[in-house]
Amino acid sequence: MSDPGKPSVPGGSSGESRRLSRSDAAYVARLARLDISDEELDLYADQLEAVLDYAAEVDSVDTTAVAPMAHPLPLVNVLRPDEPADSLDRDEVLAQAPASEDGRFMVPRILGEAP
């Protein structure tokens, strides 16, 4: 994979169409931990650009002094009593893991670590 680097600067709030290059798509795929073939990259770059062009219509809405809405209902700081309760059975959970050992999830070598 070529070094995709950072994508080009977004179009700001002007509403003009944003170009999503193949290297932008490669960069995004790497961030998302997706191995994507060159053919797929071309397809996704085109399709994502079409969706982003459409979605950029949000730019035409005046949101001056409008707060972002992250949650439809005003629930904040939801707490529960700090009481011990049953948790999931460890063996049942680990039985579903691709690999486990000694009561733990097992993973391949972490990059940079000695084998």
Binding site: S13, L34, D35, Q47, V58, T63, P68, P72, L73
Partner: protein
């Protein structure tokens, strides 16, 4: 126990529960009739990914035992229910329509599943869906598409297409789906059944595999408004396992929506929303006009309203939902559950696993969301879309200052042909244009079957209400349901008999391979 037939069985959820609780029909006979219907219908529909015949029979026998002991088996006693396969069931495959979760056995039940069991419902199977609920046609399932029971060359809608088709074909009287941008209401419209998205926070999402957490909500499919209310009553109510769950008791809406005692819409102020009518196909627009007339005739004051801000709902949705999905789906990394593709180091293993396990639409949305959340873009896309969300919620609030409920199309068209939109993601996304605003605002909305197009395909009319406005929403929906009875009917599509219970009928015409009679 006397032999029970498939004919003459009560077909609606309310009738089944009433009959089983009264001891006039056995839960076992109900479940046998529905398992036989699944055997008969599902090979040509592919609504189910898993059928739980033995579990359902065991549950039925338990219900019958409670009845025989004089104990209360619960409000859904003996009612077969299907679950969208993104709801966790302990020890039962839960795939989300994805190869990445193929073979995974959840170590716990979703809260809605526990509540269904406690209410006496019989879980008969898990239904097909677009992978991770991302799609509007159920064609994105890794396990093949579901077909529309009214015309097998057409899609059932999505993403809860399996649940919609299962109810529309009479295989089950009730099913659960999830609705992130219309995934209950749009397939309900395409299949000619009732589909309801409740207010965000009224139904626990614990055990619902997350797609877009600020939008996802579980809700019912049913053949009638009262049955949808009955199921909503059972699954709603506070759950400490979901921190977005509202601290309120479960609803009690079924009684108010019984056909015998339903409240009229007299005096209600209903807005016909121009933005949820513009651009719809002619047959849909014609049915909307008839729906408005019907509500007027029933005593509501109906006026056309414009909420221009709704035009931005779909763009905001297609930034917010993929952004949240890209974050939620980061957990499928080949470590704790599901698929792993081995590689020499961790990052390569993560990337190879995700490439092999996710289908094209899921990858597309993960990439879109990752892009929208990446450094330098967050405010321009996700941040902006969240502000637009506030603008839309405020616009709804202004409309509800003088209106009790809103009405519009559920989808701009009736069910489209298989394959018509798979190559063009944006055109597929546009089929959600009428439904996404309710998810952004967190409001309830319901789709009610209301007539058909010239090809006989069902049309859905959508009723919207403010947050926690389910009662008024269901009143309007019930009025539309009553009015729809005078329209040219929706074809039966294999729907089970609607006759009331009559015991002792012999089972007619059983096909080979059907389930046996209870002993």
């Amino acid at each position: 126990m006397s032999a029970m037939g498939q004919a003459g069985q009560p077909a609606s959820a309310s009738a089944i529960a009433e009959s089983v609780r009264a001891g006039s029909t056995s839960a076992r006979s109900v479940v046998e009739a529905h398992l036989a219907a699944i055997d008969r219908e599902d090979p040509s529909l592919h609504a189910f990914l898993t059928v739980l015949a033995d579990d359902a029979r065991a549950g039925a026998d338990h219900v019958d035992e409670l009845v025989s002991r004089g104990e209360d088996p619960g409000p859904l006693a003996g009612v077969p229910v299907a679950l969208k396969d993104n709801l966790c069931t302990r020890g039962v495959p839960t795939t989300c329509g994805s190869r990445i979760l193929e073979g995974w056995l959840p170590p716990y039940d979703a809260t809605v599943v526990r509540r269904l069991r406690a209410a006496g419902a019989l879980i008969v199977g898990k239904t097909n869906l677009d992978e991770f609920a991302m799609g509007s046609s159920t064609e994105n399932s890794a396990f093949g598409p579901t077909l529309n029971p009214h015309d097998r060359s057409r899609v059932p809608g999505g993403s809860s297409g399996g649940s919609a088709a299962a109810v529309a074909s009479g295989m089950v009287p009730l099913a659960l789906g999830s609705d992130t941008g219309g995934s209950i209401r749009q397939p309900a419209a395409f299949c000619g059944v009732v589909g309801m998205k409740p207010t965000y926070g009224t139904v626990s999402r614990y055990g619902l595999i997350a797609f877009a957490s600020s939008l996802d909500q579980i809700g019912p499919f049913a053949t009638s408004v009262v049955d949808a209310a009955l199921l909503f009553d059972v699954i709603s109510g506070h759950d400490p396992h979901d921190s977005t769950s509202l601290d309120r008791p479960g609803s009690r809406l079924a009684e108010a929506n019984c056909p015998d005692s339903a409240q009229s819409v007299e005096g209600l102020r209903v807005g016909l929303v121009r933005e949820l009518m513009d651009g719809t196909d002619d047959p849909v627009a014609q049915m909307l006009a008839k729906a408005a007339d019907a509500l007027s005739a029933a005593g509501a004051s109906v006026e056309e309203v414009s909420i221009p801000e709704l035009r931005y709902a779909l763009c905001a949705y297609y930034l917010i939902a993929p952004a949240e999905a890209s974050s939620n789906l980061a957990r499928y990394d080949g470590v704790r559950y599901g698929l792993r593709v081995d590689a020499e180091d961790l990052t390569s293993m993560n990337s190879a696993t995700r490439a092999a396990g996710f289908g094209p639409e899921v990858k597309r949305r993960i990439m879109l969301g990752t892009y929208a959340l990446s450094a330098g873009y967050y405010e321009a896309y996700y941040g902006k879309a969240q502000r637009v969300r506030t603008v839309i919620a405020d616009a709804f609030a202004a409309a509800y200052q003088r209106l009790d409920a809103l009405v519009g199309a559920t989808a701009p068209t009736t069910a489209f042909s298989m394959g018509a939109k798979v190559e063009d993601p944006l055109s597929m996304y546009l089929s959600d244009v009428c439904t996404v605003a309710s998810n952004l605002a967190g409001h309830p909305a319901i789709s009610v079957p209301f007539g058909t197009d010239e090809a006989g395909m069902p049309v859905g009319v959508q009723v919207l209400a403010p947050a926690l406005g389910e009662a008024v929403m269901l009143r309007v929906a019930s009025a539309l349901e009553r009015a729809s009875a005078s329209l040219p009917g929706i074809p039966a599509a294999g729907r089970a008999s609607t006759g009331r219970a009559s015991t002792g009928d012999p089972a007619p015409g059983r096909a080979p391979g059907q389930v046996g009679e209870p002993a």
